[in-house]
């Protein structure tokens, strides 16, 4: 297995079209107003190579917004566990989103394992795509160390001008490359160019907040009673956009839906958001996170504190989606800086 | 012959909205005969005052859920007229298509679910599920297809979403055009079957000389979205002058205002359009007319239903043609407009008056708005087809009752109900706008 191969940029279309012949291929396409979205494509021409993080991250393929987990028949008193999946290739996943998928993998592999997630994941091939520069001012991938590839892909594409450098990371990746005879072994020149790009990136990507990587967690440890949350309380609309677009938010609701015969039906799970009012409410009208400030705090803690305690990893990928999507313009970097300032 | 008959149909069913029929015959003499419209007034006209002209469509669409697309198009036409804005050719084409879908949808609903039960001697389509299951399924299928096409085109049929002043907020993509085309081509066999069914139906015999009013024009197109006002009595005028035609007056027993043109009353709707513009129908529609024995000028109001069916064929074929053209030429997506930006100056606003005259399923519909320099509505007026037909229906009833006095009270009642239903009256519409001229009691 060759580690590095190259692909002429003009051959990308050939590669994608050929792949799309045999399976579903999804890739970033433009939605207008500098918005992008992963959608099914049949040719490379539809793909936008220079895109900022899509509206929804690729998690929508790993943990669909709604999925059936069991189907039932009441009269026969039967219950069947269901898996919904689709074999596909995701092309063009940025490093932050690769990290997001890794986070989800950890959560769903944690015991008891989530079979639905794990089986579905095994049917998806991931082709990463390097960001040569910052996406926009909302990104904060450096502070969480996601601006450079850290695995989690089958193939990884880096744009080197006329060619893509392609890193083959898995056997599955090798198979994909083997399917279409457009790849060449990487030459010395290309490898040098890749190294040069990485060097250049180290200069471009700088810590985006006033806190060092290793100090983030301690900062959040101390910030439970911060005034910053009070400020967010006034601004947050509790619309749930920030959690829905977050690559590492995975909370869900479980809902029964009988069919029209009222005998058969399905139980499905559906993304839920901790930002909505009923999320933590229990009987007797007790709500453990009634205030918007508490819910916002919870969201941040679930990125920078709780998962670190549990999985030793930040669950913010630095993609900037939550800041980009927020109508009230609550910005992750600003929040962190405000907390840091207050802590001083 | 001395006979007393008292027909009082309260809450006329299988029409949109609330209407009552009152017939009173004493000693063989018709004393009283009227159609009452008792829909609670909703004051749309008053509510529009002070709203932005760009919101008029959204609001007036809610006058009637059945002809929401028609109100939408008439409202947009009036608004654009007031603003001095001319829509693009592509926009007009898509609007024509939308109007066809509305026409098709509404006619199918009327023919199958509202009229057919009468002709098959049952009270509603529900018993037909047992006796004529295939027919009911076909009707529902046809209706659903119209609905699905509207979903793709404008988001939904009831209160369309993307069709606004200036154009469309979302244009169908290539695969959407294909989907719509496939749906409509798939509708053809059901349309054939409908024609076959219609051939077997017997309509009551009753003729009355009537003035038929509708849009007319000088090009070769069956006019729905644009044209002058014309009548079978030779009347012709610009849409701006519609008030001269409609001559609205209020009658005490009805919350819908009545209208009259040159004669004591006139009729609008599918039959009027058929009578006025038969020549311009699609070939297939003409063939259908021939097969059904319809030749202008038809003066039996019960045959309005048959005219509707002929229009269905026309709308279907014309829609397919429009879609083909759009597909061949390709859509210009740069024309997709952003809602709200128009209100912020994309379309300049000036004071003015605008008129909209659109052929909707039940006949010609007028919207008129007067706006101030800021684009706020100062005056609004709408004349609804059913409002125009009301007066004519009463005249029909007055002519019909003496001819059928021999029949039993039940038969008379049914014939009267069927007459009213033949006009496909949309009473919820007509009760909402009452302005213009009031003739005292």
């Amino acid at each position: 297995m060759q580690q590095f191969v190259t692909l002429q940029k003009k051959e990308l279309n050939t590669f994608i079209s050929a792949l799309a012949q045999s399976q579903k291929v999804v890739a970033p396409v433009a939605r207008g107003y500098n918005n992008f979205s992963f959608q099914e494509v049949t040719s490379g021409k539809e793909i936008v190579l220079k895109y900022i993080p899509t509206i929804l991250p690729p998690k929508k393929y790993f943990l669909p917004a709604q999925e059936t987990v069991i189907s039932y028949n009441k009269r026969e008193n039967s219950v069947n566990a269901i898996l919904e999946y689709e074999k596909m290739v995701i092309f063009g996943v940025h490093t932050c989103d690769l990290a997001g998928i890794q986070c989800l993998n950890m959560v769903f592999a944690d015991k008891p394992r989530d079979i639905n997630y794990i089986l579905r994941k095994s049917k998806i091939a991931i082709i990463g795509l390097e960001c040569n520069d910052y996406c926009d001012e909302y990104a904060s991938c450096n502070v969480v160390d996601n601006h450079l590839p850290n695995g989690g892909y089958d193939l990884f594409f880096t744009d080197l001008g006329d060619v893509f450098m392609v890193h083959i990371n898995t056997m599955l990746g090798d198979e994909l490359v083997g399917k279409v005879p457009v790849f060449k072994p990487a030459d010395e020149k290309a490898l040098k160019a890749l190294e040069a790009l990485r060097q250049k990136k180290r200069a471009i990507f700088k810590n985006e907040v006033d806190v060092k990587h290793e100090d983030l967690k301690p900062l959040f440890d101390r910030s439970f009673t911060s005034k910053v949350w009070e400020d967010l309380d006034k601004r947050c609309l509790a619309c749930g956009n920030c959690t829905n677009v977050c690559p590492t938010c995975y909370c869900f609701d479980i809902i029964d839906e009988p069919s029209l015969d009222l005998n058969t039906g399905a139980r499905y799970r559906r993304w839920d958001s901790c930002q909505t009012e009923p999320f933590a409410k229990v009987a007797g009208n007790e709500n453990f996170r009634k205030e918007r400030s508490q819910r916002q705090r919870h969201r941040y803690m679930r990125k920078f504190k709780y998962p670190v305690d549990k999985y030793s990893r930040y669950f913010c990928t630095g993609c900037g989606r939550c800041s980009r999507t927020c109508m009230a313009e609550i910005k992750l970097k600003e929040t962190i800086n405000a907390l840091a300032k207050e802590a001083k | 012959m001395s006979k007393n008959i008292k027909v009082n149909v309260e809450y006329l069913t299988r029409v949109e909205g609330h209407g009552n029929i009152v017939v009173n015959v004493k000693n063989g003499v018709l004393e009283e005969c009227r159609l009452e419209i008792i829909e609670p007034p909703r004051f749309f006209e008053g509510m529009l005052r002070g709203r932005s002209i760009f919101e008029a469509q959204h609001i007036t669409s809610r006058i009637c859920g059945i002809c929401a697309c028609g109100h939408t198009l008439a409202s947009i036409q009036a608004a654009e007229d007031a603003l001095g804005f001319s829509p693009s050719e592509q926009t007009i084409k898509l609007r024509k298509f939308l109007l066809h879908m509305e026409n098709l949808d509404s006619h199918i609903l009327h023919i199958y679910l509202l009229v057919a039960p009468d002709l098959l001697g049952v009270k509603s389509f529900v018993p037909l599920i047992e006796t004529h299951n295939a027919v009911v399924r076909r009707a529902l299928r046809m209706k659903k297809i119209c609905n699905d096409v509207c979903d793709i085109l404008v988001g939904r049929h009831v209160h369309p979403i993307s069709c606004i002043v200036g154009g469309f907020t979302k244009l169908p993509r290539e695969k959407d055009l294909d989907r719509m085309l496939n749906l409509l081509i798939g509708l053809r066999p059901d349309m054939e079957a409908t024609l076959e069914l219609a051939k077997t139906l017997k309509f009551p015999q009753f003729n009355r000389e009537t003035e038929y009013v509708g849009l007319v024009n000088d090009d070769g197109e069956y006019p729905m979205l644009s044209g002058n006002l014309g009548s079978t009595d030779g009347l012709r005028m610009d849409k701006k002058e519609y008030r001269k035609l409609t001559n609205e007056f209020v009658v005490s027993h009805s919350s819908a205002k009545h209208t009259k043109a040159t004669r004591e009353s006139y009729a609008v709707g599918a039959l009027a359009r058929f009578n006025l513009n038969y020549d311009k129908l699609q070939t297939k529609a003409k063939e259908a007319a021939k097969a059904l024995g319809m030749k202008p000028i038809v003066t039996n109001p019960y045959l309005n239903t048959v005219a509707q069916l002929i229009e269905c064929v026309h709308s279907l074929e014309d829609s397919i043609q429009i879609l083909q053209e759009l597909k061949d030429k390709g859509l210009d997506y740069a024309q997709e407009i952003v809602v709200g930006l128009n209100e912020r100056g994309n379309i300049p606003v000036k004071a003015g008056i605008g008129f909209g005259a659109v052929e909707v399923p039940r006949g010609i519909l007028f919207h008129e708005y007067e706006i101030d320099g800021k684009g706020k509505i100062v005056n609004a007026n709408c004349v609804i087809p059913t409002g125009q037909n009301c007066n004519n229906i009463e005249h029909d009833m007055k002519a019909l009752v003496p001819q059928i006095l021999e029949k039993s009270q039940e038969e008379i009642t049914l014939l009267m109900e069927m007459l009213v239903r033949a006009y496909d009256p949309c009473i919820s519409c007509s009760a909402h706008f009452l302005n213009v001229k009031f003739v005292g009691r």
Binding site: C239, L260 | G46, R62, R156, V158
Partner: protein, 253 residues
């Protein structure tokens, strides 16, 4: 098991929500397999005073309406408010933006006296409502859900989160990105962000969230340089009759 008897009633409305029922296509026959529709004036001549479930469309706008809805409530075991006009007053509520006397005179001139009217009320302000199907028009999949819940005797909880949630699921470009306001953030979800999917804004036809973030909303307007009036204006399109409840609460409190 006897099929429950269902009757449709309409008050001031456009009847578009009833039409949504006819738009089910052949699936309508499956629904009719579950229930026995005894009254549906728009499409049926049959009439009945016996029914288990009353599906009520339209708002209450005359004193006669008040009597009628009370009678319906007394007969029906279950009452479903159907469509925005019935659930929140809807577009009819725009009337409440005006002085009633004034609007009556404007529309009916000298004949105003024949046309009695009262402020527009949603049904629940007059009688108890068991289920709500919001929307102008109703979203068919939600109606099916409510119907199934009503038939099974289960509660149906209208989502109390915003339209934005669904809008994100659908990956729409947010209207605020285009520099336009949208009532999505304060409107309860359940319509699958129907209007935004089709390039329009949300007009709030499903009614406001139980706890909309007022301050946040104001903040946004300021940021995007949108006059407050613009939004209150839009809010008053569908949600005006809400004030009648707030007034009432003030009276009580």
């Amino acid at each position: 098991m006897r099929k429950p008897k269902v009757a449709f009633f309409d008050f001031a409305c456009c009847e578009g929500c009833q039409l949504q029922v006819a738009n089910f296509g052949e699936a309508l026959l499956d629904i009719l397999g579950l229930i026995d529709v005894v009254m549906f004036r728009e499409a049926m001549s049959e009439k009945s005073d016996e029914y288990d479930i009353a599906i009520v469309e339209g708002s209450i706008t005359t004193s006669h309406d008040i009597e009628r809805i009370k009678k319906i409530r007394a007969t029906a075991k279950v009452l479903i408010a159907y469509g925005s006009c019935a659930t929140i007053g809807g577009i009819n509520g725009m009337k409440n933006n005006f002085d009633l006397e004034d609007i009556r005179k404007y529309v009916y001139k000298n004949d105003a006296k024949y046309f009695e009217t009262i402020p527009t009320h949603p049904v629940h302000q007059i009688v108890k409502v068991d289920y709500y199907v919001h929307g102008c028009p109703v979203y068919q999949p939600e109606f099916v859900k409510v119907l199934k819940a009503a038939l099974a005797g289960l509660p149906y909880n209208v989502p109390d989160y915003s339209v934005c949630v669904e809008c994100r699921f659908n990956e729409n470009v947010c209207m605020y990105d285009k520099g336009i306001t949208c009532l999505g953030p304060v409107t309860r979800a359940g319509c699958n962000s129907w209007c935004i999917n089709n390039g329009n804004i949300c007009y709030g036809c499903r009614g406001l969230l139980s706890n909309p973030a007022k301050d946040g909303q104001m903040d946004i307007l300021k940021k995007h340089d949108i006059p407050l009036e613009w939004v209150t204006n839009k809010m008053n399109m569908y949600n005006k009759p809400r004030e009648l409840e707030i007034d009432e609460q003030k009276h009580k409190g």
